[in-house]
């Protein structure tokens, strides 16, 4: 296969690693040099042709071919069998509903979080339990990293030039988890959205950070939801004053308390929509005029009564819930970047799992 010209770097492995860093082709960490052999080994795990286009990635508007994605997956340290997840993740972020241009170019600290559902999570040993958002698991770490390298190297999201994030966030290095379907009392995220349980999917959700919700003390669902409601209204987050669909990663212990009291995921969303609200008085007149009243479903939340309230999302259905994590009374609130970006789910096709 001779799709692309090859690159010759003089010197040894260390020289090649330095070459890639000097060229600005990395995320700041060293990458695996994508030799022809490693790329071809990666491509053997794709069900598609190397020249197939998975999507067009802004702001460069370059085509993300299977080959180009495989090169970046090698650089990220992916095992070859991870490639189908990375391919589907690329399809997801290239969907116009995800609004990748804004995510790549904005001053916001936004990044795609990948949530994997179905058998592929177990097959690739993706971490859905303790420290799933943290370090320590190769598949989580390298699949998320491969997506970021594709966004940078193919999509042109170069920090400080095209990626204008004011500070960014550490999740921009990598952010990929599996849902803890085994310990979730509720239907998995992909089943909730119309897929069969045995189908594998990856969902891209734009998130601007992770806010801890620590409550290991409340024993009743309503007490626990009081903590959630109070924790999910950071008035300065873009999600609050522009709108959008926030994500809650609910720890299994919290999920069990809520499920035990009869709360479905829809019930929890509805409860949070009604109770997780910031008062109008929390905002300055300038923020109300230019952002809240101007950009958050104008008219609906346009009250100037300081005691009227603004919910964490425009509707209960805009809130996403995923169960993940290990033992402990912790959940995570992840605001979105705005109403123009929506979670996008794509099927992951792995022949051995069909």
């Amino acid at each position: 296969m001779a799709l692309q010209k090859t690159l010759a770097v003089q010197g040894d492995l260390a020289d090649a690693i330095e070459y890639f860093i000097d060229k600005g082709w990395t995320d700041g960490l060293p990458v695996i040099p994508p030799t022809t052999e490693l790329v071809e080994r990666m491509l053997r795990h794709s069900t598609r042709a190397p020249e197939d286009v998975l999507g067009v990635l802004p702001p460069s508007r370059a085509e993300a071919t299977v080959h180009a994605v495989a090169v970046n997956a090698v650089m990220a340290g992916c095992r070859p069998e991870y490639l189908p997840v990375v391919e589907s993740a690329i399809e997801a972020i290239a969907d116009p509903a995800f609004s990748l241009f804004g995510i790549q170019a904005t001053t916001n600290p936004v990044t795609p979080l990948l949530v994997v559902n179905g058998p592929v999570g177990t097959a690739l040993a993706l971490n859905s339990k303790s420290n799933c958002l943290g370090n320590g698991t190769r598949s989580n770490a390298t699949i998320g990293r491969a997506l970021r390298l594709c966004m940078q190297n193919i999509g042109g999201g170069l920090p400080g030039l095209m990626d204008m994030a004011t500070q960014g966030q550490p999740g921009k290095f990598t952010m990929c988890i599996a849902e803890n379907e085994e310990e979730s009392p509720w239907e998995p995220f992909h089943v909730e959205h119309g897929f069969d349980r045995e189908v594998s999917t990856v969902t891209a959700i734009s998130v601007t950070g992770t806010f801890q919700i620590h409550d290991g003390y409340s024993k009743s669902a309503l007490d626990l939801l009081q903590t959630f409601s109070s924790s999910c209204v950071p008035v300065g987050s873009t999600n609050m004053h522009i709108g959008g669909g926030p994500l809650l990663i609910v720890g299994p212990e919290h999920a069990e308390i809520l499920h035990g009291a009869g709360f479905s995921k829809a019930d929890m969303k509805g409860y949070l929509y009604e109770t997780a609200r910031a008062p109008v008085r929390a905002y300055s007149q300038a923020m109300l005029r230019y952002s809240v009243h101007n950009m958050r479903r104008p008219r609906r939340f346009a009250s100037t009564n300081p005691e009227s309230t603004i919910p964490l999302a425009d509707s209960a259905e805009d809130i996403s819930i995923v169960v993940a994590g290990g033992p402990g009374g912790h959940s995570v609130f992840l605001p979105s970047m705005g109403a123009h970006t929506r979670p996008v789910t794509r099927v992951v096709k792995i022949p051995s799992l069909q």
């Binding site: 508007r61 370059a62 970046n72 042109g156 030039l161 095209m162 204008m164």
Partner: protein
């Protein structure tokens, strides 16, 4: 001009590499409204010049203000060497 280079690259990726870019001071949104209005008024003449002025040499003059970026080959994408 922290956003000017980004705009130049965006214009290039849309096939409009010679698009004249009129650049406003930054930051903008945090300034007083009367200051923003003054910026707008001061910029109108230049916008008119860029849209309706003499075409000859226009692209070159604006490239001097916001130069095109050197393109970086994409690993696995564009051919490198």
């Amino acid at each position: 001009m922290p956003f000017a280079f980004k705009t130049r690259r965006e214009a290039e990726s849309l096939g409009m590499a010679d698009l004249p870019l009129v650049v406003l001071p930054h930051p903008l949104s945090s300034r007083a409204e009367d200051v923003i209005r003054r910026f707008a008024a001061e910029t109108l003449d230049e916008v008119e010049y860029a849209l309706a002025g003499p075409v000859d040499g226009l692209a070159a003059r604006y490239h001097q203000r916001v130069a095109p970026l050197e393109r970086t080959p994409v690993p696995g994408g564009e051919p490198t060497t």
